[in-house]
């Protein structure tokens, strides 16, 4: 089970509301996209779910249990994986050390984590080739693969990705999305994908929420939204 439910979440920076009574839900096994213009509140939603921000109001449930007050580092062990905006790999650690840091919550199961490392190298062969290199020397695409692999090392039940395509060449974006599709289809991973590239994300995801100024503006099945003129509009809408 990996149901994620956010109810009436409000988050403020100083006085300004970044999220305003936001409610979304991701059911076990779903692939959901979270879309919206710059500043709509997508990153804030993921950060709050990971426990990096304290909400002013609202509740977050995972697996039917309220986690609003659970400290961030404990949510990883519950099964919440997060690939942060801008990848945030550790540049001075080697590729392999980055991956090992991803096993922190499973560190007591040595044999299992060694196996996970092999699995990741199987999934991303280029990381294996570069496993001894400082992660700071990777190209943008490799760094993104590393960020995803690192998050997978904790064996998350749900994987949240924050604009993984940012700064990647179109070719690499397609490759990246192919991986995500495989993770969802073959491993049954629940995915919450934040994207600027709405059209691509809608082709992958089953459902989507479109945020505007910290609240859900439109929600629905991807196949209905993909031709919805309101979606394009939301991206042109003012974000303040």
């Amino acid at each position: 089970m990996s149901d994620l439910r956010i109810e009436g979440l409000t988050i403020t920076y100083g006085g300004a509301k970044a999220l305003d009574n936001l409610s979304i839900e991701v059911k076990t096994g779903e692939f959901v996209a979270l879309l919206g213009a710059n500043g709509a509140g997508k990153t804030t939603t993921l950060r709050a779910t990971s426990g990096l921000m304290r909400p002013a109001a609202g509740k977050i449930f995972f697996d039917g249990v309220e986690i609003t007050k659970v400290p961030g580092h404990k949510r990883t062990a519950l099964g919440i994986g997060h690939v942060p905006e801008g990848r945030q790999i550790f540049p001075d650690h080697t590729v392999e050390e980055n991956l090992q840091l991803g096993t922190f919550v499973r560190r007591k199961h040595r044999a299992e984590t060694t196996q996970s490392l092999e699995d990741m190298y199987g999934l991303f062969p280029r990381l294996k080739e570069r496993h001894k290199q400082a992660a700071g020397t990777l190209s943008g695409g490799e760094a993104q693969m590393l960020a995803i692999a690192r998050a997978l090392m904790s064996r998350p039940k749900i994987l949240m990705l924050d604009e993984p395509s940012l700064g990647l060449a179109p070719q690499l974006v397609l490759e990246l999305f192919k991986y995500l599709k495989r993770l969802h289809a073959e491993q049954g991973l629940t995915i919450l994908l934040v994207e600027q590239q709405a059209r691509l994300a809608l082709q992958l995801a089953q459902r989507a929420y479109i945020l505007e100024r910290g609240a859900v503006k439109i929600e629905g099945k991807s196949k209905d939204l993909i031709n919805d003129p309101r979606v394009a509009e939301a991206y042109l809408g003012t974000a303040s």
Partner: protein, 288 residues
Amino acid sequence: MSLQIWIDGLFAGSVFAIIALSMTIVYQPTRIMNFAQGEGFILGAALGYQLVGVWKWPLIQSLVVLVIAAALMGFIMERMVMLPVQLSGSKFAWIIATLAAAMIFQSAFNIKYVNVTFSYFDLIEKDISIFGAKLSVQKLLVILMMIIVFIANDQFLKRTLWGRSIRAIAHNPDTSTILGIPTKPVIKLAFITGTIVIALVGFLASPVIIVAPAAGLFFTIQGFTAAIIGGVGSPKGAVVGGLMIGILDSVVRSWLGGTWGLFSTFFVLAVILILKPNGFFGKRVEGR
């Protein structure tokens, strides 16, 4: 030059190296140079004076109380430093927060121990002779402690997942948190460990070097200097920097007289900052 000068330098250098190591332990997850760190040295000296010197407590009991008191001080210090840093969001909050903590502890020591210098009899009254030079067992203990703290810290950082996590926290606390690393407890533990280490060397060394209650900042600056010369954040750098200024001080003193010791330390610091701005073993610290 007599061997005695080098041995005295090695002892002084070990004291500075341990101070620098304790500052390094705090720096590793936080990237904060704690200007209040030297107050832990004074705590060790004061407790040695009070428990062993005045109250004549047995050594083991005194050490137990010392470790508990130092842990408590580290705990309080973490709050005094990290709370303003977290609340302010300014890049420079740590400077004023750690200096303020230093001043507060210094005042407390001054109130209790006005006009006292912390010296008590040798813990172990025995000298070893090395080719005619004298080394007291107490000084030898300090040198051994330096080696142990260095190896423990260095291996911990390199070989354990916890050690790698500490480097990760320094780079990006939020990303460490989402990987499940308990960043805040690790930072608390670093302050506590660092304070225990420096309090222990204060306890061991104060009978030999005679420490005043207000001298905390002096020891902080010596440790800070050692860390900068060696390369901030690196355990190896802390040891090399500490030994360098300790030995240099001892040698220059014997040549040119006491007042030149400190001058030479800071002269070397200035030269090294020009030639090797990141110290011998330091990495360029990139902004986040």
